[in-house]
Symmetry: C2
Subunit: 488 residues, 2 copies
């Protein structure tokens, strides 16, 4: 049986020091949610360890006493993966923010989990290197959180997800053991638990030291923005580019409604009258980039682009990206409330799924859907817009948002591209996985966490959360906080 | 308690048909080892299923009766990972060799496990695509076996291992359940058990359908061979090339002894007097390849290459690769017996480790070491040469071979680069992993296979195999069969 939390507090203070334990109600409430603010719960107690040993001691204490714990990085997650447990310990890694080593010769960085994503690139840049995974929240999100969520970013079409860039981890298991997975070398014998740990959303333990691959900064980067009259024309440009064997670093698309929002918010000055804009970025050796860039430009024109703008330096690139990067937060300018959805479809299913999304929106009174997405890898981020003062609108928006995920599954895709499952989509896992699939995952989780104390009720569906019937769809709630939306 | 095998035979015949079950002693013996022929054991019974359903029914029968089973693909493995169990069922996937789908639009191939590696590329080539992982045994080794071993190849420096190219699996778990991991999409929610399954050496189940990424055939491929007087000079050329930001598809190095062997065997006509030859292959868009190729050539000359040959078409490339590809088998021409070792060190530790290997060889009477290796990623394949008719020579060779792995561990590397652990290196796992690390792996394995029937005694050390004391080093036996050596 779990002990009451109050009994743990003195021992937590011994481990983390007085200033490393937060019990004050007001201060605890600042941790009540991650970026998905409509799931909230005040943590029982918050600890701020500064070392692997402190993390291990905290977790061992939890294991001994049966008290659940939830790990948290910078709290920018978008699936309530870091939603605190009201009777548990919230383990925040924000004080573990040391860059342990930049190993240029082996092209590796070793960092603590609280280091911000962009800090890795800042530390590597003087040596001509960078860290590739770039979630839009990269200024603030932590590398530890990126590990938990297997974070992507605009450039994962070419460079892959976080899992493709982590070569070694030191972790504290849910039983408080310190275990090493992988290292600096490319491959390790035994089970590749490193790959399984990345994206496990804190349910298998806490990463306390992280070794990542550094990539050479590209010799050249060029970006183009192409404006089309319709989404279909933009989509056929994407297909033509990929089919031609061009591998852009990023291929992003925005529809008319998201362009309208971006114009209202940041005056990004995209070509007037565009039904779709496409941003294509190429990087690599100069000769290669130039050749591919000319090809991509030509293919955009052939697909019907009525205007193509190009950027060759950082300032021009920033102008092109400005609208795209602000799009999520900008939607707040044209709609009182909205839901941000995250799903994936095979790239070839994009045109059909976008048409079906438009039909869903047309059929639901007062609901509009703005589409902003990573077109190259079929990762959609539909924004479901509604007026929360209108009776029934939030329910209709939730229904449209849910049906979009159904469309993704129906077309062989996935209920999340890069935001994770967390609490938010746990009850939808049975729509994607068979009972045998889920049982296998649960067996795996239990092998690490036999007592179920590590981030309970996240990632996999539970009867308490989802009801006894597998596949019960939980209501989706509106996301209205603009602060959270900036993290996309 | 396990049932006697004889009780299972009629039921296996019901599942796989009479011609799908081999009980004849003579025919069973043809399966007694994989490519590492010094580990041998006649399987209790051999089954040749033709479908997922048959595999699942066989495994369920094993699970119900407590009989162990061992999966086998083409049997080209080099760590005795497919060593049969004398009281168990050998499940051979060689009849499951259908290419299910070449999905050009999504750049995926779906195949059965018995399909030969090179067949995937043959099926994709008419569409302008290929399958990247290329173990030297690619003409015969199976994709299912590649999954089990996470196979690499000469080109994994640029393209990664098998795990980087598999996006979906249908597997039969050790309890006989059919489970799907991943799919055609880039990322899936939940635990990335797909990554952990790849390289699990048959201990977590049998892959029955495999979805792999197809890559565009490169526009251009160019290869150079550079001859150096010393290994140090060759090594500094490798460092210079990588430091310059050139990313070759392959960087292979051979020392004087392995060049001598290759000349004796295939008359490859490498530059006379070379103490080291370096093969560098570049692929990609033509403009890029040309620019990088000129750079690599210049860097080789600057590092002291006294001759550089270049190849621009397939015939010229084959001439350059001829010596390298024959090197392992060729060693049989200059030595009565030899051990092939497989280890990894961080690339920067290569010069030091090679010097230490030379010292080990000099100190052991009658033992020579030929070095052939993937220089770009530090994957060594030292060949320990000895005369097995000389008293004590095989023991001294085994000692040198073992000490080479110690060197790899000491320098932050690994006891296997791409051949796997199998039976051969299971007892050395404690030298690389802590008891907590190994316990975590064992917990993971037990979650899939609670009864320990799936490829028992492979991958992790057991008291029966390694003695009660963790870390006991087992003797290494000489590899003398040339047939096996061709599979490198």
């Amino acid at each position: 049986m779990a002990q009451p939390l109050s009994a743990l507090i003195p021992r937590l203070r011994e481990i983390c020091g007085d200033d490393g334990v937060i019990t004050d109600q007001h201060r605890r409430r600042t941790y009540e949610s991650d970026g998905l603010t409509y799931h909230a719960s005040t943590p029982g107690v918050v600890v701020l360890p500064t070392s692997t040993e402190q993390v291990a001691a905290v977790v061992r204490l939890c294991a001994e006493t049966g008290v659940p714990y939830v790990p948290r990085g910078a709290g920018t997650g978008l699936s309530a993966g870091a939603l605190p447990h009201s009777e548990g310990v919230l383990v925040v890694t924000s004080r573990m923010r040391r860059i342990v080593e930049i190993d240029v010769a082996n092209e590796r960085a070793v960092v603590q989990p609280g280091v911000a994503n962009l800090e890795v690139t800042r530390a590597a840049a003087p040596h001509g290197y960078y860290y590739a995974p770039d979630p839009s929240s990269q200024q603030v999100c932590s590398v530890g959180g990126n590990i938990a969520e297997n974070s992507g970013g605009a450039h994962c079409l070419k460079y892959g997800f976080t899992v493709n860039h982590v070569t070694g981890l030191e972790i504290v298991t849910p039983q408080g053991e310190v275990v090493r997975l992988g290292g600096k070398a490319a491959d390790a014998p035994g089970y590749d638990l490193l790959g399984a740990f990345v994206g496990s959303e804190g349910t298998l333990g806490i990463a306390t030291e992280i070794t990542v691959r550094l990539l050479r900064s590209p010799q050249k980067v060029r970006t183009l923005l192409a404006a089309f009259e319709t989404m279909d024309a933009g989509g056929s440009a994407v297909s033509a580019i990929i089919s031609a064997g061009v591998l852009p670093a990023a291929v992003e698309m925005m529809d008319a409604l998201s362009i309208e929002a971006a114009e209202a918010a940041v005056a990004c000055d995209y070509p007037p009258g565009a039904g779709a804009v496409l941003i294509v970025e190429l990087d690599g050796p100069a000769a290669d980039v130039d050749a591919q860039f000319d090809r991509a430009t030509r293919l955009c024109r052939e697909a019907g682009a009525f205007e193509v703008r190009t950027a060759d330096d950082a300032a021009e690139r920033a102008r092109i990206w400005k609208g795209r990067k602000s799009a999520f937060a900008a939607v707040g300018r044209i709609s009182p409330a909205y839901i941000v959805q995250d799903g994936v479809v095979p790239r070839t299913a994009l045109p059909e799924v976008l048409r079906r999304i438009a039909e869903l929106s047309a059929a639901a009174s007062g609901i509009r859907v703005a589409n902003v997405f990573h077109a190259g890898d079929g990762n959609l981020h539909p924004l479901v817009l509604f007026d929360d003062s209108e009776p029934g609108a939030s329910e209709r928006a939730a229904e449209v948002s849910g049906k979009i995920l159904d469309l993704c599954i129906e077309h062989g895709g996935s209920i999340t591209g890069e935001h994770g499952v967390g609490v938010d989509k746990a009850c939808q896992m049975p729509e994607m996985f068979s009972p045998d699939d889920l049982e296998t995952m649960d067996l795996f989780r239990s092998a690490f966490d036999p007592d179920g104390i590590a981030n309970p009720e996240k990632l996999l569906p539970t009867p308490r959360l989802c009801g006894e019937r597998p596949g019960v769809r939980k209501g989706v709630h509106p996301l209205v906080a603009e602060g959270a939306a900036e993290q996309f």
